[in-house]
Amino acid sequence: MLKIKNLKVSAEKKQILKGIDLEVGKGEVHVIMGPNGSGKSTLSMVLAGKEGYKVESGSVSFKGGDLLELKPEERARAGVFLAFQYPVEIPGLSNFNFLKIAVNELRKSRGLDTLDSVEFRDLVDEKRKIVKLDEELLERPLNEGFSGGEKKRNEILQMALLEPELAILDETDSGLDIDALKTIAKGINKLRSKDNSIILVTHYQRILDYIVPDFVHVLYKGRIIKSGDKNLAKELEKKGYDFVKDEWEEREKAKKLISLK
């Protein structure tokens, strides 16, 4: 599904990702954890195609094609979805209309007929149950006046509507109370299937009580310094990042020593 090879990325002339290698297979859930400033959000943004990041080297292939060559909207249509950490507001544009346009753009790109308002209403009514989103929020302007939890539910609703093959969830769990976290985690579990992959970017282990990942990676200073299965997350929870960081720094030191010799 997704193959990232030695990806180096800089923003404002500062290198942020310093050689990422990651392979995500069909149906897998990967968690990327790491302290603040480790490059988690940069990785999400680069995969989605946000401007302002410079890919210095490396490659990203998605379903066999070069992902980095595509415009952001083309990536979306190809099946890459990003749940934003900070979803934007668009005053005056109703959430319902926004969702409908997004779904129809996708349908058009796949040669399907577009849905009219009545058909779309049925679809959205079915999907919004997954994240328990109030009907009233459909009529409000996109994200305007939504609480933090409502914004995140709305992101997962979009994932449900767009049915992406690769969903990158950027700190979808941050700023949620425990009930909202449970609802959203359950929603994500419902959307999980053998045909789609998920990259879950998070600070905290707590969402992993509800979503059981196949792989856990620790991102630190722009590199993946440790990978493991779900038990790695538990270990991190217990011992903090420091034990992985120390381990890695020891290793780096050793490497340097070797190269000096």
Binding site: A48, A102, T114
Partner: protein, 480 residues
């Protein structure tokens, strides 16, 4: 929201689609302006002596006036002797719509104004004005049954001289300002509308203005009178061919609302804006004013301004009647090299008068967009209230937005509120839409439409669809 397919399709065709020229044989006055030309126009229209006097008086005042320079627009001085002040399609006196020149008919059909399939057009009566004259008015007979008069201005002068004489110039005096005086001197046609006491017009009344002939100016005059307790919703649309030279459109609209009457006036202004380099386009210098004469009356202006090279226009309301209400809802969109200086005046005279101003300015390209508003509360206007909100949206880095609000309050019991904000379309907003499979152009038009939502809601339905479509066309080429 109209379907997104439509927006994109329209976007791809970046031309001003009303830019065609029709080959219609016209009866024209020689170019230039003097008293003889005015007499010529007046005699062409078989006008009564008082009207010729009205014109000449205005002309004499006009010769002593100078063109206003305070607007935030710049253009070369207009040579008023180079303009043709009268141009009418030949074979005019018609007994029925069927006698209209097929070329004229084709022109309006191309514009989507089906004068002859009127029965199919749902509930909108149209007065079609081509260059200097009204060529057809639909649904006249149906309206007449209710006592509603809806006809061309020329016809009103012949058929209802007393009404015209009573109200003409009562809201916009003949020498009100430079362009209004010019209009009073040379106006050729326009629409006249009278809604009798207690009658609610069952359909929207609409005037469609079309400039066709080259080197002509269009100077039409519209007069709407709503008698006690009457209601009417009035629409105005306009287009012009694409020409390299600038053409002048200096219209006057007067609205009178008597006790308990309500008039809603909506405009979708789509005059040719000039090309992407700023060549050609219409100079739209218009005076629009309503007078709430009676108590509890209401006049509401809604405008969507997308066309014209230069727009200079301030639809205003004089609130004389106690408890009367004036409203102004405006979207002004400028792109390329367009200039717009537009806004409103609300003059509170009566007690407990209310006014509401919502202005949305959108500037793109190298255009300049100015809101200019005046709210005046006179001593007599106890309990008057005004709310003003003027928002600007900037697209790109070469455009300008200006706001010049003026408030003068002479009564302590009144409340005047003003809110303003300026925003840019954020890269984050565009990227968010992109990430949902929506192109940048489409995203921009969604954001702009969202910005204008409040005003769109005030437009009659069909007009609102037209307006959204127009905005997305006008936005073309504004997204880099």
């Amino acid at each position: 929201m109209i379907s997104d397919t439509k927006i994109i399709e329209k976007k791809l065709k970046s031309d001003y689609k009303y830019g065609f020229v029709s080959n219609i044989e016209a009866d024209e006055a020689p170019k230039g302006l003097n008293e003889d030309i005015i007499r010529f126009i007046s005699s062409k229209k078989c006008e009564p002596a008082w009207l010729l006097e009205f014109r000449l008086k205005a002309f004499r005042k006009w010769t002593e006036m100078v063109a206003p320079v305070w607007a935030n627009v710049s253009f070369p001085e207009i040579d008023f002797q180079e303009i043709i002040y009268y141009s009418a399609p030949k074979n005019k006196s018609l007994k029925s719509l069927d006698e209209v020149d097929p070329e004229v008919r084709a022109t309006f059909e191309k514009l989507g104004i089906p004068l002859w399939e009127q029965k199919k057009l749902s509930g909108v009566a149209v007065d079609a004005v081509l260059d200097s004259v009204s060529v057809a008015t639909t649904f006249k007979a149906d309206l007449a049954k209710l006592g509603i008069i809806f006809c061309s201005f020329s016809e009103a002068v012949q058929e209802y001289p007393d009404l015209v004489k009573k109200y003409l110039g009562s809201v916009v005096p003949s020498a009100d300002n430079f362009y209004a005086a010019l209009n009073a001197a040379v106006f050729t046609d326009g629409s006249f509308c009278y809604i009798p006491k207690g009658v609610r017009s069952p359909m929207e009344l609409s005037t469609y203005f079309r400039i066709n002939a080259a080197k002509t100016g269009q100077f039409e005059r519209t007069l709407i009178v709503a008698d006690e307790g009457a209601y009417v919703s009035y629409l105005e649309g306009c287009t012009a061919p694409m020409r390299d030279e600038n053409q002048l459109h200096a219209a006057v609209v007067e609205i009178v609302a008597l006790e308990n009457a309500e008039v809603k006036y909506s405009t979708v202004q789509n005059w040719y804006p000039g090309d992407a380099e700023g060549r050609g386009g219409i100079y739209n210098f218009v005076t629009k004013r309503g007078h709430c004469v009676g108590a509890n009356s209401k006049i509401s202006w809604t405008q969507v301004e997308t066309g014209s090279a230069i727009t200079w226009k301030y639809p205003s309301v004089i609130l004389t009647g106690d408890n009367s209400v004036g409203e102004f809802y405006s979207i002004a969109m400028t792109n390329h090299y367009q200039q717009a200086d537009t806004g409103t005046k609300m003059i509170h005279i009566g007690k407990n008068t209310k006014s509401r101003i919502i202005s949305k300015g959108i500037s793109a390209g190298r255009s300049a967009n100015t809101y200019r508003g005046q709210v005046k509360v006179l001593k007599s206007a106890s309990g008057a209230r005004n709310f003003t909100q003027c928002d600007s949206l900037l697209i790109g880095k070469d455009c300008q937005a200006h706001t010049f609000p003026e408030m003068s309050v002479q009564n302590r019991t009144s409340t005047v509120e003003h809110e303003a904000c300026t925003s840019k379309i954020g890269e984050d907003q565009i990227f968010y839409c992109n990430q949902r499979g929506i192109s940048s152009e489409e995203a921009t038009s969604m954001i702009v439409n969202g910005f204008c939502r409040e005003v769109f809601k005030k437009l009659p339905l069909e007009f609102s669809v037209e307006a959204e479509r127009l905005l997305s066309i006008s936005l073309e080429g504004s997204v880099g």
